[in-house]
Amino acid sequence: MAAEPWQRYEIPGPIKAAVIKNPEMVSILLKKAKKPVFIVGHEAAEIDLGGKKPIDHIIRIARATNIPVVTTAHTMAEFLKSGFKPAASMTSMDIGNRLTDPEWSVSGEDDPHDLALILGMTYYVGFVIEAGLKSFAFNHLKTVSLDRYYQPHCNWSFPNLSIEEWDRHLTIIAQEIEKK
């Protein structure tokens, strides 16, 4: 599907996300990043990918890269059920706000984050939070939407995908990362 906002009327502005055509690209971005963070919303634990859920991919990616996972809403419970402990849990507003702070990191001790992978927030909530990051964190942070639908305010985003394509893309990212 085309790179246009999934919700038709969520029109951003002149600057729009570059489309991730090859999922391998995400593993390259991750490799280049000094301090990435993975933001995971509740839809990652709700959407059925044919017997598995997006958080299964996320756990694979996080385990292979040691990228800290910050869960929003009540998503943490699903990770814990899968035997994975996220680095932090907070509201999507809180994590968005903290990412605009060039001195903040999840651990509170390391360098600030320079790359945020985002997946699973309510579409229109992700839309406005990513717009906030675009305008108030652009000096220090790049953003990548791994949602099923195109999120125009990120630096990079998947286009609108079918469930099957999305599952395949997430699988490829996990495989690429596990290879390295």
């Binding site: 502005g13 600057i15 999507s92 968005g96 706000n97 903290r98 909530v125 406005v128 305008s135």
Partner: protein, 783 residues
């Protein structure tokens, strides 16, 4: 208010002679027992410092809904990534300007409603008509008006003077939104707070006037229960539907029905706040539902006449009314709908034109005339219309669904991206259940039916309603009539337990029906906190939706819980303009229980509330500009507000940073020393995504620096218990809220002690300060 009157029988001088002169000069407000405080009739600048104190703790996080500014002809301007517009405004200032604009619109809407109401009531009852909102049990009848303006209103006429002040402030606030005015985002935010404060005064005026003049329930915890839901309406009778917020025309309809002996022959029902207020006038009226029920009710054909006043009425109501041959009467100049103004025409002609279908609708700006016309037209058109509706039958739905191409357009324009294509696929195969499952989550906006959205022009909203016929038939619930104010007696009884934290919190659940999921989520959330003995207050569409749910015993929450302002009470204050009774209860706790000066003493009262009164507002379906100004009135009092996910589109949150210790110091008024009191409350305005998240946040946002150890222990117990239930683990911030060992909930002691040890927690040196954010309130200077 008093006026100076003098009379001269005869006065003669060298150059003139006066006989029989009587004159009245000026307005003199009767002094009340309290001397005025420091800030009578505050202007935009008066509380700028207080606002900055709050905004320093709760910094704005901006959420641009669009990167562009489109307000002037130098634009459009792209403000993203640090750019400024042609006028010099940056993104932060632009977003805060929109927040101010929204709050000013909201405040103007309530104030305009108030002016309309007061003028009409004065014309009927006279300006000396006394205000009475609860007799001797409500001696602090107007907490906001007294606190902000210093006026103690006694009559309808006094309210005009309060409105003069309100309107002046709104004009100034609106002017600040013009190009080339304010440039600083925090000053815009402060002005938005001012709009909110003014809004609560304007709303209070409106409700004081209508409670007094229409003899609504007066602080009555046992106000009657009335019917709500489309299924509760007797469709064998003529039905008059009222929509909006200004109740006088609806009251006039009932008066005419009663005078004509027709009160049992016609069903009088309503949608939105006019309906709520109508049930405060007569318990024979029924509520069809909240805002989201407008189109489903009209399209069902049940209404024989539709009468609209102001606010939250669909802009295409005339088109929809025409489809079902229901005449439309507009009763308010804010909403002409392009119809001819027939106010001065003979009523027989108006009735004849509408009954005979010569005109689809009229404007009648006289409430009594509109009331008579509505009744006579309903009686006239009832046998002709035969309840013409446009909701498809089962066979038609299946036939239409077969035309669906699964292009996904409908889902992509739906605010909640409801899975319409999947439901259509099932319907095409004869299974209407998935369509019916969308009934409670559909907000009735009909964007899915917009021109050019569906390639086959399918009327999806109507199909959802058609698939939900049995559900609608069973839509019969009970809601308690809005009781108005919280009585002084109740405040005296619960003030102590609230301030000490032993009643774990006061929740105000208010606002519109723009829910992210089922409307029942409102009730499910609230039932949890009623069981936990919180005090729950409510107004507006939220109050209706809470009623549209049955618990496991088959009772609505209004039937299951007391209407008293007490632990475990569910208090329906009334319509949108009844919100100041909720914020007013917090003011009255400071004034009546703590005996802080009320007269023109806003800052001190807000400081008291922020540090001591564990109150939190939640507006799960907030949609309107009015909702933003209502929220803003709570913000300036330091009361946190949670909104549902759609509330993120208000373009900014006000968030604390619990990881920054330096943000969470208050002053101990006893010693003047700065004391760490933790992130209590953590946020001032936040949008959350799931009801589970909201339910965990509610008890946490009720924590206040002033909690006693017992109170803090109770609040922590609720917070931790819900966190464990929904998040599957202990929260990671317990150490920030435990001040001493005595704060620890006894049943969780071992778990918490382990966490405290891990976090290197140390007991607070001053666990129970007299907390304030205002240095001037320090009684003794110290380090």
């Amino acid at each position: 208010m008093k006026k100076a009157r003098f009379k001269v029988d005869e006065l003669e001088s060298d150059i003139f002679k006066i006989t029989g002169l009587e004159a009245t000069v000026g307005n003199f407000y009767e002094e009340w027992e309290e001397t005025p405080g420091p800030t009578p009739m505050p202007d935009i600048s008066t509380f700028r410092d207080w606002d900055r104190i709050l905004l320093n703790k709760y910094k704005p996080f901006y959420l641009p809904l669009c990167d562009l500014c489109c307000l002037c002809t130098m634009g459009k301007c792209d403000l993203s990534k640090g750019k400024k517009g042609a006028c010099g405004l940056d993104m932060a200032a632009q977003q805060s300007r929109i927040v101010l604009l929204s709050c000013a619109i909201g405040a103007a809407t309530h104030a305009g409603h108030g002016r309309h109401m007061v003028e009409e009531l004065i014309s009927k009852f006279g300006s000396d008509y006394p205000l009475d909102v609860g007799g001797l049990s409500v001696l602090v009848e107007a907490p906001h008006t007294r606190l902000v303006t210093g006026i103690k209103p006694r009559t309808l006429g006094d309210l005009e003077d309060v409105l003069d002040y309100v309107e002046k402030e709104i004009t100034h606030l609106l002017s600040c939104c013009h190009t080339g005015q304010e440039g600083d985002n925090l000053d815009f935010e402060s002005k938005a707070f001012h709009a909110g404060m003014i809004d609560h005064v304007g709303m209070e005026v409106c409700d004081l006037a209508q409670i007094s003049a229409f003899d609504f329930p007066k602080a009555d915890p046992e106000a009657s229960l009335v019917d709500i839901g489309i299924g509760s309406i007797d469709t064998s009778k003529p039905v008059i539907l009222v929509i909006g917020h200004n109740v006088p025309p609806a009251a006039a309809i009932f008066d005419y029905m009663e005078d004509s002996g027709l009160e049992d022959s016609i069903e009088l029902t309503g949608i939105c706040c006019t309906a709520l207020d109508l049930t405060r006038y007569t318990n024979k009226a029924k509520i069809a539902g909240p805002l989201s029920h407008q189109l489903r009710f009209i399209r069902s054909g049940i209404a024989d006449v539709i009468v609209v006043d102001e606010q939250c009425i669909r802009a295409d109501i005339l088109d929809e009314a025409k489809k079902v041959n229901a005449p439309l009467i507009s009763t308010n100049y804010k909403n002409f709908q392009g119809l001819p103004n027939r106010t001065n025409d003979p009523i027989d002609e108006i009735v004849s034109d509408l009954v005979e279908g010569r005109s689809p609708g009229v404007v009648i700006l006289d409430s009594d005339k509109a009331g008579e016309a509505a009744v006579r037209i309903a009686m006239g058109v009832f046998p002709k219309r035969k309840k013409l509706g446009i909701i498809p039958e089962e066979g038609e739905i299946i036939e239409y669904a077969m035309k669906c191409t699964k292009c996904l357009s409908c889902q992509r324009v739906c605010p909640n991206y409801l899975p319409l294509p999947e439901a259509m696929e099932a319907a095409a195969n004869g299974n209407l259940q998935p369509l019916s499952d969308l009934y409670e989550s559909c907000i009735g906006c009909v964007r899915c039916e917009g021109e050019g959205v569906c390639p086959n022009n399918l009327k999806l909203h109507s199909m959802i309603i058609g698939a939900s016929r049995s559900k609608i038939k069973d839509e019969k619930f009970k809601v308690r009539v809005g009781r108005g104010a919280i009585s002084d007696t109740e405040i005296r009884r619960v003030g102590g337990p609230i301030v000490m934290g032993e009643i774990p919190g006061v929740i105000g659940i208010v606002g519109c029906s723009n829910y992210p999921g089922s409307w029942k989520d409102n009730a499910i959330m609230i039932e949890e906190f009623l069981k936990r003995r919180f005090i729950v207050t409510t107004t507006g569409c939220a109050a209706m939706n809470i009623g549209m749910y049955k618990n496991e015993d088959g009772l609505s929450l209004y039937e299951a819980y007391s209407g008293a302002f007490d632990a475990g009470g569910l208090v329906n204050c009334g319509s949108c303009v009844s919100n100041p009774h909720i914020s007013g209860a917090a003011i009255k706790i400071a004034s009546i229980f703590a005996k802080r000066k009320l007269n023109s003493n806003y800052e001190e009262i807000a400081d008291y509330i922020h540090n001591r009164v564990g109150a939190v507002g939640i507006s799960w379906g907030a949609m309107s500009q009015k909702a933003s100004s209502i929220a803003s009135g709570f913000w300036r009092l330091g009361i946190p507000i949670i909104v549902g996910p759609h509330g993120s589109k208000y373009r900014r949150a006000l968030l604390g940073r619990k990881d920054k210790d330096e943000d969470w110091y208050t002053i101990d008024a006893r010693t003047g020393k700065r004391v760490y009191t933790g992130p209590a409350p953590e946020h001032l305005f936040i949008s959350v995504e799931t009801k589970e998240e909201a339910m965990t946040l509610i008890p946490k946002l009720c924590i206040r620096p002033n909690d006693t150890t017992k109170g803090r222990s109770i609040k922590l117990n609720h917070y931790i218990d819900l966190h464990k239930r929904f998040y599957g683990a202990m929260p990671d911030d317990i150490q920030l809220f435990v001040r001493t060992m005595a704060d620890i909930p006894i049943t969780m002691k071992d778990e918490i002690l382990e966490i405290l040890k891990e976090k290197d927690w140390k007991e607070s040196e001053v666990p129970a300060p007299d907390p304030t954010l205002l240095p001037r309130l320090v009684r003794k200077r110290g380090g």
